[in-house]
Symmetry: C2
Subunit: 251 residues, 2 copies
């Protein structure tokens, strides 16, 4: 083997949500590549090279990582959350598919992490307690028609739905369109959780209903969870509340 | 607050996939409750009480945890993987719903973990690189008709599908029925990954096609991933192969 390329999941943000295996992969690397906000979470040790780049440069970053590893480097490509969920692992394998020889002799590994929907769910209760799906709302890489079809079928299947990349500056209005489509299938009282910056100092979690969800604001740091027909609030005797989906459909 | 109840995700198995936050929650607890195989992963410190119980006793375990916390105990309920995915977090909130006063004054938290599908995906490449869903195949808690409907809609939506609890001694044949349903919608060459005991010494990963998947054996320690129409093998110049789903539908 020439070099090593590990695609590492750093979790949603806090250090104590980074697995020891992910921390080891970062500590062990000569080169750390990634989108700036993720690279900036780390502190370089002596001899480490940090290469931060923009969000839209995933494929270029993947190629660069393969090149560095082909020259014998120990390379870590870092993602927030889990690297296999709407993140860098797929970009690296795309680069390998485009140029199979670029991977020759390189030990390629993926180090899993806590993905955003798990952390968001943990903060509010157990909304993912039953069957669920994850959909990226970004139409950079797929058509809006595909997104619309998947939203409709997911609602018909009564999955809890986790929406990644719900909005960006370039497309602030799509999340509203998504709620409108879901409202064609799901009742207005369906619970919707907006989980922003989970695990950070500015964390903010709001629970609303699908009928009013269009009025909420969200950005790229927000994870949106839309309940199934079974998802509900549970309230303790002393008035605190959580959102959960029962394990049993007979509950 | 009287006591504390933390529902903790221990990840798929290895210690280096346990987050520091989860490890701290376990170390800090007076009582550790859980299904025996998960409790048995831990080493008690002086003064800790371990209460292991059977798989089918989730609700009784949740009630017991609330009782211990109501008496002032610091209680950790442990799950493998993530506690919010087909695991103990939903069971605890079910117990609270049944008896709201049982949660009074208790600080209830969920500590997320790496869930099985993320670890399985990491081992084989990036099969969850695009939209996906997670379905539990256990019909203890829902009807087979619901499972069948969800499988069909998930295949129509072209989600990558993660099947949790694909088989048990009591229902060895359901996974075959699930493949038959998926074959009504998806092509026979759709890739299927059987990931058994991921992260353990006896880890075993097999990649087959949907047309032949019915011949494979699987058990409660297996996670099954069924590709979307876009999921494919990628092969390096030196002949190693991985399974991945491109980020873009135009790829």
């Amino acid at each position: 083997m020439n070099g090593r390329l590990t695609i590492v999941g750093l979790g949603p943000g806090p250090k104590d949500w980074v697995t020891p295996a992910a921390a080891d992969a970062v500590a062990d690397a000569d080169y750390i590549l990634g989108y700036s906000p993720y690279v900036n979470r780390l502190t370089p040790r002596a001899g480490q090279v940090f290469e931060a780049s923009d969000n839209r440069e995933e494929l270029a970053r993947a190629r660069r990582a393969l090149e560095l590893a082909a020259c014998g480097g120990r390379v870590a490509v870092v993602s927030g959350g889990d690297p296999g969920v709407f993140a860098m692992a797929a970009a690296v394998y795309e680069a390998v598919e485009d140029n199979p020889a670029s991977a020759d002799g390189i030990d390629i590994r993926v180090e899993p992490g806590v993905t955003a929907m798990l952390a968001a769910a943990a903060r509010i209760g157990a909304p993912l307690g039953h069957d669920f799906c994850a959909i990226s709302l970004s139409d950079n890489l797929k058509s809006w028609a595909t997104i619309e079809k998947r939203l409709r079928l997911a609602a018909e299947a009564d999955f809890v739905i986790a929406l990644y990349n719900p909005a960006s500056k370039a497309r602030p209005e799509q999340i509203g369109k998504a709620f409108d489509i879901l409202l064609e299938v799901l009742p207005g009282e369906t619970l919707v959780v907006f989980a922003r910056a989970v695990g950070r100092l500015d964390e903010e979690i709001d629970v609303v209903t699908l009928a009013t969800a269009g009025d909420a604001t969200c950005d790229m740091r927000t994870l949106v969870l839309i309940g199934s027909r079974a998802t509900r609030k549970v309230i303790s005797g002393d008035g605190r509340s959580w959102v959960y989906t029962p394990r049993s459909e007979r509950k």
